[in-house]
């Protein structure tokens, strides 16, 4: 059996990153499940508590849907969970969405579950694969992990619903899943944005990787555009490295202040009522003029084009 060296550094607080390195130092590796992870080098994981919880949920034979915005670290999380479960000796299959057939073939390969048709020498069909894998899973303990689950074809999703009702534990990682079928049924964990400190660390290590010297001031300036999203943290450093101009920030952590502005301006129309109450015609007139001005500003603000959902101008 190959020697697997594992260097694991766990610090006192949960938000501290875990570095997991695994190396195979010679020898034959007879364990099929660990084969794909034997040279796995994981990136630093900040969501340690979430990882622990996911592993616990799966080991308790339950399923989970992990939802987070694009780039928030779902794939990283999924990879680390897969590694840890594989290390503990469990059978698992981790797949990305492709065509139903490719997907099922990948699962079958990872689980080492040969469909009957293949044994008989015929080309496997989707239905045959589905049935074969389902049978295998009903007799063996194994975990299924689906990354980018919102892109799964509906055929697979219905199949997953069937597996779920027969108690198969699975982990789905999705960006903006629709609210129906399997996504609705699974218990859900929503990923929060990372903290300022964590984003700063990611930015710093990205810069070091690219050989870019950035002062704290420059990092602070760039960090405005990250919005707690680790992928954006790396991308922003890369854009700086490539000398690209400042583009519109892509994160989703916005609060639109236009309604507040309009509400604040509308308070000025109270002057009109003060004029009525205080019996001052000039205040009333002035309030009337202010009301009209605020109305004009409102019309102008409502006529400006909304933010486009697409990137760029």
């Amino acid at each position: 059996m190959g020697i697997i060296e594992r260097l694991q550094r766990r610090l006192t607080r949960d938000e501290e990153p875990i570095y997991i390195h695994s190396e195979e130092a010679g020898g034959e590796d007879t364990s099929p499940t660990l084969a794909s992870y034997s040279s796995f080098v994981s990136p630093t994981l900040y969501r340690v508590e979430q990882k622990e919880r996911i592993v616990a949920v799966l080991l308790a034979n339950s399923s989970l849907l992990v939802v987070g915005e694009p780039g928030c670290g779902k794939t990283t999380l999924g990879d680390v969970v897969a590694f840890e479960l594989a290390e503990d000796g469990f059978l698992l299959a981790k797949v990305n969405p492709t065509t139903p057939k490719q997907l099922l073939l990948s699962i079958a390969k990872q689980l080492d579950a040969q469909p009957t048709e293949a044994l008989e020498g015929k080309a496997p069909t989707v239905a045959g694969l589905m049935q074969g894998i389902a049978e295998f899973l009903s007799e063996n303990i194994a975990f299924l992990i689906f990354d980018d689950a919102h892109r799964l074809p509906s055929q697979i999703r219905y199949w997953l619903e069937g597996l779920h009702s027969s108690g198969q534990p699975m982990l789905l990682l999705a960006s903006h899943p629709s609210g129906d079928d399997i996504f609705f049924k699974l218990p859900r964990m929503e990923l929060e944005p990372l903290t300022n400190r964590q984003i700063r660390e990611i930015m710093h290590s990205s810069a070091v990787e690219l050989g870019l010297e950035l002062s704290d001031a420059e990092l602070a300036f760039l960090q405005q555009r990250c919005g707690g999203n680790p992928m954006l943290a790396k991308r922003v450093i890369r854009e700086e490295y490539l000398g690209l101009d400042e583009s519109s920030p892509d994160h989703t952590q916005w609060i639109d202040g236009t309604p507040f502005l309009i509400a604040g301006l509308t308070i000025f129309t109270i002057v009109r009522f003060l004029g009525l109450g205080l019996n001052s015609p000039s205040l009333y007139l002035l309030g009337g003029v202010l009301t009209v001005l605020v109305g004009i500003v409102q019309i102008l603000l409502f006529s400006i084009p909304k933010k486009s959902a697409r990137l760029g101008r």
Partner: protein, 346 residues
């Protein structure tokens, strides 16, 4: 945004909400530079270098210092100043608020609701927001300068309501101004209207005696003829526009006389006044005044009106001059009370 834009924004806001005292404007402008202490590249950051280095190592730009929380902290920490001078404290807090609120209009916004990490932006469409070193910022700066200038000049000419009234020349607004300032200044009304009976256009300056109702003024022309000017029916001059001009400051004196069956000619001289701006108001009951004929005029205001009765005659005085009263009512015995107002030009 540039520091100068923040300063101009603070000056405009302070002038609008707190008045145009130069000390307050300067305080506001200085306070507006404080939020930029979170970057060591800005001037306040250079001044407080240890603090700015500490902040930018941990926080993204425009996070903790550009928030309502920071504004509240400043208000709280500087509250001892409020004990000394409330206006300066208000100007500081308002200036600090403007210092970061102006950055809401930039592409990256500010974390206004810190410790919430979400960034406040106006408007939502990022293409309509300012990026750093954008040329449109000069346009915004120009607009803010205009607003600041307008606000300061309005404040200097007596406030927005007064300026509004003066610009439009609304008669009721003129009456309000006259009511507010009539006891401190000699006021002249520049009247644009027409004579009620002859319908001749009138465009002239009249000295204001006093406001009569919410819409009417009592004025006199250079010859001393008294008119009621305004928009109501009994006015001799119907006004379209009235603009008030302040003349010299005056000192007003008010005295009250009681008459109990006394002759006016005996009582009046006891209350001398050296000004030709003496106005008498009141109601008198005269006895044995069957022969009294009180003249009425249709083209001007009757300061003395009378109601003859069986045994007594009731005479009403509204801003009547001393000479008039003496001429008409000298020998009669009167009962009643009079109020004598005299204005002395300083």
């Amino acid at each position: 945004m540039r520091s100068i834009t923040h300063a101009i924004c603070a000056v405009a806001a302070t002038s609008i909400f707190l008045g145009s005292d130069p000390a307050l404007l300067v305080t506001g402008a200085l306070a507006s530079q404080l939020p930029d202490v979170d970057s060591s590249k800005s001037i306040p950051g250079q001044i407080f270098l240890p603090l700015s280095r500490w902040i930018e190592k941990r926080y993204p730009y425009r996070t903790i210092t550009h928030s309502f929380l920071a504004t509240g902290a400043i208000a709280f920490l500087l509250s001892p100043i409020a004990l000394l001078n409330v206006e300066v404290w208000k100007a500081t807090v308002l200036g600090y608020f403007c210092g970061w609120f102006a950055d809401v209009f930039t592409k990256s916004g500010v974390a206004a609701f810190y410790p919430l990490a979400a960034r406040l932006v106006i408007p939502q469409n990022p293409n309509l927001r300012l990026s750093t070193d954008s040329k449109s910022e000069y346009f915004v700066m120009a607009v803010l300068v205009l607003v600041a200038i307008a606000s300061i000049s309005i404040n200097s000419s007596g406030g927005i309501v007064r300026s509004f009234n003066q610009t439009l020349g609304i008669p009721s607004g003129a009456v309000e101004i006259a009511s507010a300032e009539g006891s401190q200044y000699l006021l002249f009304a520049s009247i644009n209207g027409r004579a009620a009976i002859t319908q001749q256009p009138i465009q002239d300056d009249f000295e204001i005696i006093r406001p009569l109702t919410q819409n009417d003024l009592l004025v006199k022309d250079r010859e001393g003829k008294v008119y009621k000017v305004g928009t109501s029916e009994e006015c001799q001059i119907i006004a379209n526009r009235i603009t008030i001009k302040r003349d010299r400051p005056i000192r007003s004196r008010v005295q009250e006389i009681q008459l109990d069956d006394q002759q006016i000619s005996e009582v009046l001289p006891k209350f001398p006044s050296d000004s030709n701006r003496t106005y008498i108001n009141g109601t008198l009951t005269l006895t044995d005044a069957e022969d009294l004929v009180i003249p009425t005029h249709s083209d001007r205001f009757d300061t003395i009106t009378g109601q003859p009765g069986e045994k007594t005659t009731i005479v009403r005085l509204e801003s009547a001059g001393t000479a008039e009263v003496t001429k008409l009512l000298t020998d009669y015995y009167a009962t009643g009370s009079l109020i004598i107002r005299s204005q002395e030009v300083l």
